[in-house]
Symmetry: C2
Subunit: 191 residues, 2 copies
């Protein structure tokens, strides 16, 4: 039996990331869960920011932003970045920051991976500003990667150790691998 809960954006799990932008030349970061994949080739992602958020100004100013994925050891600092605004607190002082190929999208060293993005499309909807970004470069901690045929490949997600969120307002760790994409379903093929 299904229970109706009323309209809720009950997507889960929700990835927790720090969206970064330069606001008047200073790095700022907002903790967000509303980000996701929009395409693979070319690589498209989005972030949804409240129109009044400090980071929003920076993305509009530069046309660039970053998405940084903190490991669980950064949980309290990540949660803190979602509690306070860059209008009151200088969040650039909280992290060691680096810049990549675009020059204007600040990224966090202590995050296990960082996406450097150029705004490809933007629009407002209700109180939100949505930025669709094309990923220009992807940075991953060297010691998180594995090698296959001499090339770096993505590791088991447990090594990236993401902070996961859900609308029950709890944070979670990732669990165990349970299967391989485009393999598990083959047994249902007829013929």
């Amino acid at each position: 039996m299904k229970t109706k809960l009323g309209p809720m954006p009950l997507i889960y799990p929700i990835p927790i990331a720090l969206a970064g932008a330069n606001v008047e030349g200073r790095a700022n970061f907002a903790t967000i869960g509303d980000c996701g994949v929009m395409g693979l080739r070319p690589p498209l992602v989005y972030i949804s920011l409240h129109k009044n958020h400090h980071t929003t100004r920076g993305v509009l100013e530069n046309g660039t932003f970053s998405i940084n994925f903190p490991p669980t050891e950064l949980l309290s600092l990540t949660d803190y970045c979602g509690i306070v605004s860059g209008k009151q607190v200088d969040k650039s002082a909280l992290f060691d920051i680096f810049y990549g190929e675009l020059g204007s999208a600040p990224m966090i060293e202590a995050c296990r991976s960082n996406l450097e993005c150029r705004v490809e499309k933007e629009f407002s909807i209700e109180a939100r500003h949505i930025f669709v970004g094309r990923v220009e470069q992807t940075y991953v901690d060297e010691d998180c990667l594995e090698e296959k045929d001499g090339k770096p490949v993505l590791p088991d997600m447990r090594k990236l150790d993401p902070i996961i969120y859900a609308l029950d307002n709890r944070y979670y760790r990732i669990g165990k691998p349970i299967g391989v994409g485009y393999e598990e379903g083959k047994k249902h093929r007829s013929g």
Copy 2:
């Protein structure tokens, strides 16, 4: 040290869902990872579909769609729905289906939760069709819910038991709770 991997939409974790639409009166479902939250009040979500996918036609036809979250016990059937197209296989026969308030967005009984959505905005970008939906109703399996003060509340995500994906092409389970939103960061507040 950071390693550059080249441009990748390396968002993680990725939620695995079945996007549903009626195509010429018959329910069809596409396995997607590119869905996410765009706003809380009002509740906005998005799905990104390849413009040639069968489900895309149905969303354009009706202006409605569903997002269904399968538990891990549905892993192989969910993976299968990402391998075959509704153009070749009648996916309406794979599931018990119900309809809600909109009448045209098919939902899957065996999924632990279902979002019934009306298209609020749509656009094309590269080979993708993006649909931003307003959630009109949220359905959750009764035995997944907990009660607080006589009202149903969202349970620990482990009860919803989502299928999680990442670009390493593996599926994962959810792990353990590690904290509470807007609480963990309070210790960093000064003064």
